[in-house]
């Protein structure tokens, strides 16, 4: 993340404008960094999800938010995919941690983020006192900042739901180009994308590396499996192994897709 975005000298970001229907099938990222007035003694931690940031801006005017780059996912999904890290948060907080007046500042952290970051209410983080809030911190005004009563959603379910949503978006993109090559290519392609999305959603926290590396690993495994099935099962000639490369590529593609989007 660009540290200049987090600098106290940076002017407040303008309100996020609503986005179109693309947000239904794709992540909807907003700019990361500090949002709102910087003079308050409290700030809320948000993912760079447009709808979340916009709702927070509308309902908590005048408050400060620290928007972390999380691929454009909402709070629960960003936490489920592990996009918010302690290192990222500390790097974002560090410019604002200078000066003695920061010692009494309070950082409102959504419970899913707190669980992911191993934070508890009352913890001190670079001069910020952590307070837990629900995952939808849209009505923060009046909150005591005490540990939230709301529980965290099941991370597997959140990842599967996000993966299915993004798969539908990819179906919109892939359908016409694949259908040019026949309904068989369309069917195999769509099913390969679905299977890849589901496998990646389940194994996301187990596979190493960033999203593209997880996809690459899965793509290599899927391509090799498909090649073995064609070679030993159907005993095709070497030219008949081309679909295995296609399947591998489709499986690999869902890795960077699930890794989210960044603001243009």
């Amino acid at each position: 993340m660009n540290s200049s975005e987090n600098s106290p000298a940076t002017p407040p970001m303008p309100p996020v404008k609503p986005r179109g229907g693309a947000a239904t099938f794709w992540p909807a990222p907003s700019r990361a960094g500090w949002v709102g007035a910087r003079s308050g003694a409290a700030a809320v931690l948000l993912p760079n999800h447009q709808a979340t940031v916009r709702a927070w801006q509308e309902q908590n005017p005048g408050m400060t938010a620290l928007v972390l780059e999380c691929g454009g996912y909402p709070v629960a999904a960003a936490a489920a995919f592990g996009f918010v890290t302690r290192k990222k948060l500390e790097a974002a907080l560090s410019p604002a941690g200078e000066g003695s007046e920061t010692a009494s500042r309070r950082l409102y952290v959504p419970v899913s983020f707190a669980q992911q970051l191993h934070l508890a209410g009352g913890d001190d983080l670079q001069g910020w006192k952590v307070a837990l809030v629900p995952d939808q911190p849209t009505a923060l005004r009046g909150s005591t900042g005490e540990p939230a009563a709301a529980g965290t959603p099941n991370m597997w379910v959140v990842r599967l739901a996000a993966a299915l949503r993004l798969w539908l978006g990819q179906v919109l993109v892939f359908s016409v180009p694949l259908f040019i090559f026949g309904w068989q290519a369309w069917l195999i392609g769509i099913l390969a994308l679905l299977l890849s999305a589901l496998i990646l959603a389940v194994t996301w926290r187990l596979l190493p590396g960033p999203g593209w590396a997880k996809g690459l690993l899965l793509g290599v495994l899927a391509g090799a499996g498909a090649a073995a099935a064609l070679w030993f099962g159907l005993q095709v000639e070497p030219a008949g192994l081309l679909p295995a490369a296609g399947v591998g590529l489709l499986f690999a593609w869902m890795g960077p897709v699930l890794a989210g989007l960044r603001k243009a």
Partner: protein
């Protein structure tokens, strides 16, 4: 580190990947399908009618004209098939033909002849005609013309599923060869 692509880049890259994958998937599919499809004797409908297994076998005679079906034949000059039989045949002027040798080839070119008083056929176990193609033989060669008693030819016939025999029919008789 900023993660992910922009939406525009992802859609553009997605379309490129979809086109690549579609090409790869269809390429492999067509290779597989071509390996599974039995060879077609001739690509044109008219030729298929004349050469298909359902076409009635035409028995040549010394006075008969060429088979009626061949009159409407407009075949391509040839078709290349993945598997063919190469039959070496001696056609005798006054005796039945002799099939001397039949060799299986991995690939071969079938010429869809349009007319001829003789027939080369592929038969199934019940000796039903699966494929039939007419061919001509001339016993006159040279100048001045010299009459030959026998002419040796090489005929190419397609490999078909369920085939059992190759039969050569001429005006003077017929010969049957059992395929291994």
């Amino acid at each position: 580190m900023r993660q992910g692509m922009t939406l525009q880049n992802q859609i553009f890259l997605g379309i490129l990947i979809a086109l690549t994958c579609g090409y790869l998937l269809r390429g492999g599919w067509s290779v597989y399908a071509s390996a599974e499809t039995p060879p077609t004797p001739s690509p044109t409908p008219a030729a298929t009618q004349a050469l298909s297994p359902t076409a009635a076998p035409v028995v040549p005679s010394a006075t008969a004209a060429a088979p009626t079906a061949t009159a409407v034949l407009t075949p391509k000059p040839f078709v290349t098939l993945p598997g063919v039989w190469m039959a070496r045949v001696t056609v005798n002027r006054g005796a039945a033909p002799v099939i001397e040798r039949v060799t299986a080839l991995e690939q071969g070119r079938i010429t869809a002849a349009s007319e001829g008083e003789n027939l080369a056929e592929v038969l199934d176990l019940q000796k039903q005609v699966m494929y039939s193609v007419p061919f001509k033989v001339s016993f006159q060669v040279g100048e001045p013309p010299q009459q030959l008693e026998a002419v040796t030819l090489v005929l190419m016939l397609p490999k078909l599923e369920g085939e059992k025999y190759i039969r050569i029919q001429t005006a003077a008789g017929e010969a049957i060869y059992e395929l291994e």
